[in-house]
Symmetry: C2
Subunit: 162 residues, 2 copies
DNA sequence: GCTCATTTGTTGCATATGCAACATAGGAGG
DNA sequence: CCTCCTATGTTGCATATGCAACAAATGAGC
């Protein structure tokens, strides 16, 4: 008996030219933009965007949060978050507090210095993002966001915020 | 005398909501897509996309090429390329050959194993890219590529190729 | 031709990262 | 309660990375 083979897992699919162009552009431009912003933060002697996102997610949650509930939206692996929190804790930006319902884990919460740091970072992050993205207008940005989200199968909103 | 201050370096520009959404989508989706493809290569016990790009750029050049002429299109720093070539040379995929006109540097050229490896990688890379990008159609991909290139201030074509 | 700044590439060292193994707690099934 | 499987984090170790210092060669100005 013969299995249908027309499009489903046909042998060696080659991406179409438009797909290849999108792939390349995605890789290059995302790298360039990210580096531009990270560079601005580094120049201001501030931590990078990963730290910002952790602080912001914790702040946005509005209550102490478990690492596992952070790892998923952050798209990072547990062990990455573990060491990230190590460093942030060393720098006094977050604290691990005991978790009553599950003694394995703990809850993460920004310290006062953590809240302050996020605000300080945003003062650099926001203009840098604006600079890095200023070649496209708002209408284009919206189309871009929608296309990217479709590509990623996502429909989050969630802007970083002041 | 007073300097114009209306839009040029006005204090603390906040990115518009569409810009913020585009920024977030760009970060998340590019990461997700890249990881998906890198994962496919890793699962096939092949080197990652960086190696592919080096091999492909060398092959595309059609002649032995200086590191400095590669570093720019690859968007990587000289010392990164230096060690990358170290590893690729160890694996017998490229060779450094003496450069007649400039004794500081050398010319890079794929070995036979290097050409073979690029072909072998493409057999995994291409379907993985196709899978990762299959949520958008060709027309959308083209719009996406154009928007990204405008955002990055770029107008390369250059698809990877079989 | 000599000197010096620049270009090109590499490397020592401290830090960061990925992976697999580990530790510990929770929860299901008996 | 006991056992075993899963979930949640952490860590040892090998490797990779960023940065700044370095080496070597070129080329410009005198």
């Amino acid at each position: 008996m013969r299995v249908q083979q027309t499009q489903l897992k046909g042998p060696a699919r080659i991406p179409s030219d438009p797909i290849q162009r999108a792939w390349i552009a995605l890789g290059r431009v995302s790298q360039a933009i990210r580096e531009e912003v990270d560079q601005a933060l580094k120049a201001a002697k501030l931590p990078d965007t990963t730290w910002y996102t952790v602080l912001w997610e914790l702040e946005r949650a509005g209550k102490p949060t478990r690492p596992k509930d952070l790892a998923i939206p952050l798209f990072i692996l547990p062990y990455q978050l573990s060491r990230l929190v190590d460093r942030m804790e060393e720098d006094g930006l977050v604290k691990r507090i005991a978790c009553p319902e599950d003694k394995r884990g703990h809850l993460l919460e920004p310290t006062d210095a953590g809240y302050a740091m996020r605000r300080q970072m945003w003062a650099v992050y926001a203009p840098a993002m604006d600079d890095a993205m200023n070649r496209i207008g708002d209408e284009e940005a919206l189309v871009l966001a929608q296309l990217l989200n479709k590509l990623g199968g996502v429909n989050y909103p969630v802007p970083p915020k002041p």
